[in-house]
Symmetry: C2
Subunit: 580 residues, 2 copies
């Protein structure tokens, strides 16, 4: 994807699409933010592997910020640093199946990480701040998923300052080790320093994962310098401290221990996550199994997913040989990239319209293949990748709609898209002159457990919260090509429309959606999509994120005299003292 | 409390303390908002009682708005209307123990309620909007508590339009009946009409209480005109429809049925909730068992709770005779009023400092008395009132700190205040020349179940989420006067300080707290106070409220071209189309 052929409506000409010159211009003449990278191109992380232990060392290149106008000192980070981290975590899963433990550490002396770069935040548009926090949250949830589902337990070795986002990164690991040298400390200084919240799950992980006593958490989160040594252990902020002289050997011992206990079965070798096939047009992004089209005047992005063109491979080994070309893996990676691209580079998009084309039976065959090989490391990783991508869809602040039309293949895994949508429409019968098979929806085993939402429920269980029997009724129909009427009767789609009504109804809906307040819709959808229980993960995206976004709008943080703006100027912020 | 002696720092001189002339001036020359009222003074509701069935009829006096500048047409409401509703609900509990079912309805033809008054909202300061939503949410939670714990099931009889907050009020009842006349409808038109969310729990109750399917909820919440008739039942938005000709008899039959099933045991007669004894000084509010002092330069309000001056009465009948003068009831009502007063009239207050004076043994004696009479209707109501007041404390956006000093009585019920605080300090030993008993904390049965937080946990269970054994260890100490060291060792207080350090430490803490961003603290405390599970109630105050507050800050809602500002002008709002 070259910058030259990039359409001028988003970040072209160095002019960010966001409300303000958000953290200045993108560096190096870039006009849009790319979520794709690979280890050879990393500027900020060093991934090394020694037997079954991987080490990810943070070594931020302070001159390689994503935007102009700030230096990434002291291992502080911006979105570009986190894109590399997310990439590295993904590669551990797919490229290094022999890895059974991960050590996250710093390659710089006496500093682990100073957290999100403050100058970057101070200059960022609201939209960039929100998207930055969302992506970094997803990356940290991914580290926890790595532990829970890929059997790679993680250790964070803190050799010095771990402040704000630095400590929040540590919180995402399973075990936090802090050097006990009289100065190294963990801290969440956001509130006293910047008048904002730790935005990457810090508060929720302090209260709900590490279960720090609330009054101690209050002291901790209001103490700029943080907590060090034994007290950090007593307060449950870290798991262990070790003197500098024993730090390395303790890390090594602990990593060995974690690797030994890992349930991950050794696999001979991984696959290569080859760069995505991606072509950017003025109003489109084309991948091998996915096309995105932008109807800019209507503020719609249509994502058309293409089903497999060949039956699944004959064996798990053949799947490994296909590697990144294996259809379910390829499509998941492409969908993930498209969602991320739209979120941050296409802010003006009001609605994502999901369509598909292909043979539902083929999609089901792939699901069946993955189920049959569910104990194979690669099949398992692909399932969990889909789970994470679908969660990313749930958390995308755009109206989501699925149009199920003749010739589409919303079956099994792909049936999660209508279920993840705010609304779905299915066409009854055929259109004149269209000889493709009528629209259908097909459920499979995979819709009943493999893809939990962030609240821990399947999309069907969440949908039928009032009527669990309807989940059972749907389950009984697994494998059947449910036509429009059946899908509607089972409550699986919102509207079943015939050809006469279809165009008008869909058009009116999309026009209406574009006419509503974008902010109002974000709040509405964030509430209606997540009925039922909450988990730590869902709390992060609800309670914490929503409050943080509020604070990110308040003059006390972002006003000319606010703390974010005045940080580093030597001038104290001036606050409106009213408590709201 | 007369207006004449009201200090000029809040709403005096018709100048609201909030950031903007928030919905104009208070009407009738008032200078502050009073949460106290009584049925004789109601302007908007008619409470009538017929045997065991109470009817609360909404009949809003459109000329009796709390502020100037708008008419409360079509049973639309402002905070003043809701203060009366909250009062009426409270009186059902205490003054009318014979009531076993409640019918909520409108006294106006063809309209139930048009919801929160839009002109009021459009003119309101951010602080007023936030506090208005918080209070109305608490009132609706109170209606649900009435059903769950006082045995008064409620029916909402909707005889016409129930829009926005009107339908949200219905959602708080147990059973919604809608007249089927071809026009009466329920609706949540906030998003399409005003670009904000239904702010009184509507979205959460639609998704989590009525468990409306998410796509139908999406349609419902984006359809201005709402849903009527059979479809409203099918979509689970209401429980039943009845034609106009059968509406009255169906309501009556249903109310009888509910009353017959109520577990509330008939009691001869209730008590009178006499007006509170309350004196307002320039920098103080004095009640009979509670004093509030404002140190305005330090932005601190000190609330000193006074223990009982006499032992508990000899019998439950004697408690009934004491009525509103019974110490636990009196103090709960006073604390509730003080908290509400500070929240809305004293926005500049950064921290609430809880102190107490009295004999801990006497406090425990009252707790024991209530426990011994726990099946008596009045004792039960008092316990639940304390539960609600303590939840109100949890949800107060001020830093909460308890100072446990010699002569204090933080025992049993009052020990919930240090547990509800962000931090607590206890003085070790005595002060020179002070012969009052040293500071102590005393736990009782009541701290282990009677007062759940909105997340369903006791404050101790929430505090010791990581170490449930510590709850048991604390339980073993029930009834003991825990001195500073013991209370600290058990993890029940944050800091135990001796006389030498006390003044400085407390001063530095309070100064620091006042120096932080008020918004940042609101977000921080809202996250750290509620570790653990979420309930529908806690979701309302977290996910929904936080998103709504964000939207209430966004130009798309409140800007000059925003939807709230342009409503009713004939001009369409102009939105920034970026989705964030």
């Amino acid at each position: 994807m070259s910058d030259a052929d990039r359409a001028p409506h988003t970040l072209a000409n160095g002019k960010p699409a966001s409300d303000k010159p958000a953290p200045g211009k993108l560096a190096n003449g870039k006009s849009w933010i790319d979520f794709q990278t690979e280890p050879e191109r990393y500027r900020h992380w060093k991934l090394s592997i020694d037997g079954d232990i991987a080490t990810l060392a943070m070594d931020v290149d302070e001159k390689a910020g994503l935007f102009e106008g700030y230096d990434l000192k002291l291992n502080s980070y911006d979105l570009g640093v986190d894109i590399e981290l997310a990439d590295a975590i993904e590669r551990l899963r797919f490229e290094h199946p022999q890895v059974r433990a991960l050590v996250l550490r710093s390659a710089k002396p006496r500093v682990f990480s100073a957290g999100a770069n403050i100058r970057m935040l101070a200059g960022a548009s609201h939209a960039h701040k929100v998207n930055f926090c969302k992506f970094t949250n997803e990356t940290r949830n991914g580290i926890e998923d790595l532990s829970a589902n890929s059997g790679i337990k993680s250790i964070c070795a803190i050799n010095g300052t771990a402040a704000g986002g630095g400590y929040e990164l540590a919180l995402a690991t399973d075990y936090i080790m802090l050097v006990d040298d009289g100065s190294a400390a963990v801290s969440l200084p956001e509130l006293p320093l910047l008048a904002v919240l730790p935005g990457t799950g810090g508060l929720t992980r302090v209260s709900d994962k590490r279960k720090v006593r609330r009054d101690l958490a209050d002291v901790f989160c209001t103490t700029e310098e943080g907590v060090k040594g034994k007290r950090a252990v007593e307060w449950r902020l870290v798991d262990a401290v070790a003197p500098g002289s024993k730090f390395e050997e303790t890390i090594a011992a602990r990593a060995k221990e974690f690797a030994a206990k890992s349930p991950r079965r050794a696999a001979a070798k991984g696959i290569t996550l080859a760069p995505l096939t991606r072509t950017l047009g003025t109003d489109s992004v084309d991948y091998s199994s996915l096309s995105v089209e932008f109807q800019r005047t209507d503020r719609i992005a249509t994502l058309t997913l293409r089903g497999p063109t060949a039956p699944p491979p004959a064996s798990a080994d053949a799947m490994v040989t296909l590697g990144a070309n294996f259809w379910p893996l390829k499509l998941a990676r492409e969908l993930d990239d498209a969602i991320l691209h739209i979120r941050i580079n296409e802010l003006d998009t009001a609605a994502l319209v999901f369509k598909s084309s292909g043979d539902p039976a083929q999609v089901l065959a792939y699901d069946a293949f993955l189920s049959a090989n569910k104990n194979h490391w690669l099949a398992r990783e692909i399932r969990h990748l889909w789970k994470r991508v679908l969660k990313r869809v749930d958390l995308t602040s755009r109206s989501l709609v699925t149009l199920i039309e003749p010739g589409s293949c919303f079956a099994g895994t792909l049936a999660e898209l209508p279920l993840a949508s705010d609304r779905s429409y299915i066409l009854v019968g055929r259109r004149d002159g269209d000889n493709r098979p009528p629209a259908c929806l097909v459920l499979a085993d995979v819709n009943f457990g493999a893809y939990p939402m962030s609240n821990g429920l399947t999309r069907l269980a969440c949908r039928f919260l009032a009527t669990p029997d309807d989940v059972e009724a749907a389950k009984a129909e697994r494998g059947k090509m449910l036509d429009a009427e059946e899908a509607h009767r089972l409550g699986l789609v919102t509207f079943a429309l015939d050809d006469i009504d279809w165009d008008d109804e869909v058009r009116v809906f999309l026009e209406e959606r574009s006419s509503f307040s974008p902010d109002g819709l974000t709040g509405l959808e964030a509430n209606l999509r997540f009925a039922g229980p909450e988990t730590m993960e869902s709390k992060i995206f609800a309670r914490l994120t929503a409050w943080q976004n509020w604070i990110f709008q308040r003059p006390n943080a972002i006003g000319e005299d606010g703390a974010l703006k005045r940080y580093g100027t030597g001038q104290k912020p001036v606050f409106d003292t009213k408590r709201v």
